[in-house]
Symmetry: C2
Subunit: 337 residues, 2 copies
C-alpha cells in the first residue's frame, strides 16, 4: 500500500483539503475560493505588507526538519517582519510549490504547523495558490498587518547616542540547526536533537514586543534578526547612516547554548554574530526614552531585553571586548559567491 | 567575455538593482527596504488580496516566451483576479526564485515587462524577496486592491435566468501559445510567431470592465477565465449552485484566430472551451439589469461584451449547438494525473 501523494490529487481537491481547515473570521468578507479575498480594513490603521519564502534545501532542509516546523517557519519569518514594524498580524496568503511526490500526510503536517501559528497569532489565511514543481518544495507566504501611524517602527530613525537593544537570546537557533544537521549527517537519532533545536524549528515572532515598542513609542529604529546579529547591526546602522559600537560581553547567549557551544569548540559570540534564524528584534532607544522602555519591559513577560551597544556618529561598526576594539565581522548573505 | 548572472551579484545588490527602478507614490509611507511596506488605506474601501505564481516550465516556457512577457504575465494574472472582484489595483509584492545562471540582462527584461504593466495599471511595487533556487525560475506575485463594499463582484450570486456574458474574444491566447510552441519545436523564427501570440504573451487584465461592472452593480456574479471557458462556466455555476446552458454559436472567437485554427485543423469552439490564458471576464447579469450593462458597455471602449448563455436551476452544464444539446466538455486542471 503506497501512501497518497499530491500527484494523486487534483489541484481543486488539494485546495479544498486546505481551505476546509481554515477558520474565516467575520472581518473576512470574501475568503478562500473566490478570485481574491476581501477584508474589512482596521479603522484608523495603516496597512502593512510583507512576503518571504522558505525553500527546501535553501532556507530549510526537510531531511531533518519535521513538516510541522517547515510550516511554522514559513509563517513565522513573515510575522517576525510584522513584529519589526510594530504591526499586528491580520491575514496571510499561501503560495505553495509542491513536488508531485510530496505525501498528503506530510502536506497535512506542514499545514498543522502553519495553521497552529496562524491561530495563536490571530492571522487569518484568506487565500493562496498551489502549483506543481519539479524543483524543491517552496512555501511563499505574504502577510498583512495593521499599525497606527505614530506607532510604526522603521529601520531608520536612530540618532548618535541612542542605545541598542535586542530581545531574547541569540545563537540558540544556529546552535540548534548545527545539532540537527550533525545528528542527521551521522545518522543519529533526530528526536533528541529536535528537542534541543526548538528555537530553530519553532521560532516565536516577537509580535508583542514589537507592538509594545510601537505603542510606547520607545524605539527610534527597529528590525528583526534573520541573518545574525552582525548583519542586523550593519543594516540598522546603515539605514540611519550611523555606526555602532557593540559591547561583546553584553550579547545575550543562553547558558545552555553557551555551554553546549563551548563544549563543542565554538565561540558563542561568533555564533550569535553570524548565526541566523533567531528572529529576535534589534532596536534603538533614545537615552531620554528609557522610561518608555521600562513600560515595554513590564508588558513582555519573561522576554529579556538586553542593551548591547550604542549608535555612533562615525559610521564604523566596532566590537568592543574588554579593552580591545575591532571591526565587526560580516554576516550571512544569500547568493554570495 | 561572459554575460553577468545573478550568481555574480549579492542578494543585496540584486534587491538594490530592482528597488532603484521602483517609483514610490505618496500613499506608500514605507516602501521597499524596510522589514515590511506600510500603506495609507483607501478611505471607505475594503482591502482585496490575491496571489499567483508563474513557474518556468509549468505556467510559462522561457525557451520561447521572451523575458518581458514572463514579467508581464506574472503581474497580469494577479491583476486579472482583481478585475474579477471589481477592484482597483494598489500594491504588489514580488517573490523571485532565481536560478543562479539567470543572466542579469534577462532579469532586467523580466522587470521591464512587469514594471511596464505596474505603471500602466497604477500598481506600486512595495516589497518582496529574492532567493536562489536549483529549480526553475518562479515569480510569485501578491497584489492588493481596493473595492467599495457594494461593488464587490463575487463568483456566487447568480440566479436562474441570469444571462451569461464574456468580455473580449476567446481562444486567441491558446492559439498563440500553440503557434509559439510549434515554431520553437520546428526551429522556426520565433519573432513572427510572437507577433501572432500577443494575446498569450501580453494578456490585458480587464480592470476597467471589472471596475465598471462593480460600479454599475451590473453583474450578479463574475470571475476571470484563466483555464478556459469550460472551466470558468463550471466554476461560476458551481459557486451559485446552478447550471448553465451555453450557446455554442455565440462563443466569441476573433476572425483571425478562427481562420488560423480552421486552416490548421482545430475546432475554434474546442480551443475556446479548453484553451487557457485568455484572462477575459465571465459574468452573469439579471435580465432586469440589462440597462446597467448598457452603461458598462459605454465605458469599456472597444472591448466586446458577448452574451453566451443563461443560468439554469438544473445543475447540468449544457452546450447547445443549433438543435443539438450535449454535456459541456471538461477544462484544464493542474496536477491532473
Amino acid at each position: 500500500l503506497t501512501a497518497l501523494t499530491v500527484a494523486d490529487c487534483g489541484e481543486r481537491a488539494l485546495i479544498a483539503r486546505i481551505t476546509q481547515r481554515l477558520p474565516v473570521p467575520a472581518w473576512v468578507l470574501v475568503g478562500p475560493g473566490d478570485d481574491a479575498a476581501v477584508l474589512e480594513p482596521v479603522r484608523g490603521a495603516l496597512e502593512v505588507l510583507t512576503t518571504d519564502v522558505q525553500v527546501d534545501g535553501v532556507h530549510v532542509d526537510r531531511r531533518f526538519v519535521p513538516p510541522e516546523a517547515v510550516g511554522h517557519r514559513a509563517l513565522a519569518v513573515n510575522l517576525s517582519d510584522l513584529a519589526a514594524m510594530g504591526a499586528r498580524p491580520r491575514a496571510a496568503l499561501l503560495s505553495l510549490a509542491l513536488p508531485p511526490s510530496l505525501g498528503l500526510e506530510e502536506l497535512d503536517r506542514i499545514l498543522d504547523g502553519l495553521l497552529g501559528l496562524a491561530a495563536s497569532s490571530g492571522t487569518a489565511i484568506v487565500g493562496g495558490n498551489i502549483t506543481s514543481t519539479e524543483g524543491p518544495l517552496a512555501i511563499d507566504v505574504t502577510v498583512t498587518g495593521s499599525v497606527h501611524r505614530r506607532r510604526i517602527l522603521r529601520r531608520s530613525g536612530a540618532r548618535p547616542g541612542d542605545e541598542v537593544f535586542v530581545t531574547g537570546t541569540l545563537g540558540d537557533a544556529a546552535a540548534g540547526l548545527h545539532r540537527l544537521r550533525s545528528a542527521f549527517e551521522r545518522g543519529e537519532d533526530l528526536l533528541a536533537a529536535r528537542t534541543c533545536a526548538a528555537r530553530y524549528l519553532h521560532p516565536e515572532p516577537r509580535l508583542r514586543a514589537g507592538v509594545q515598542l510601537g505603542a510606547h513609542r520607545a524605539a527610534s529604529s527597529c528590525m528583526d534578526l534573520s541573518d545574525g546579529l552582525a548583519d542586523g547591526i550593519r543594516q540598522l546602522a546603515q539605514a540611519s547612516d550611523l555606526g555602532m559600537t557593540l559591547d561583546a560581553a553584553a550579547v545575550p547567549v543562553s547558558a545552555e547554548t553557551r555551554e553546549w557551544l563551548a563544549q563543542h569548540g565554538f565561540d558563542p559570540l561568533q555564533v550569535a554574530l553570524a548565526g541566523g534564524d533567531d528572529f529576535e528584534l534589534i532596536f534603538t532607544v533614545r537615552p531620554a526614552h528609557a522610561g518608555r522602555l521600562r513600560g515595554v519591559r513590564r508588558l513582555v513577560g519573561n522576554l529579556p531585553i538586553t542593551r548591547i551597544g550604542v549608535m555612533t556618529r562615525s559610521r564604523a561598526l566596532i566590537m568592543r571586548d574588554g579593552r580591545n576594539e575591532r571591526e565587526l565581522p560580516a554576516g550571512y548573505e544569500h547568493f554570495k559567491s
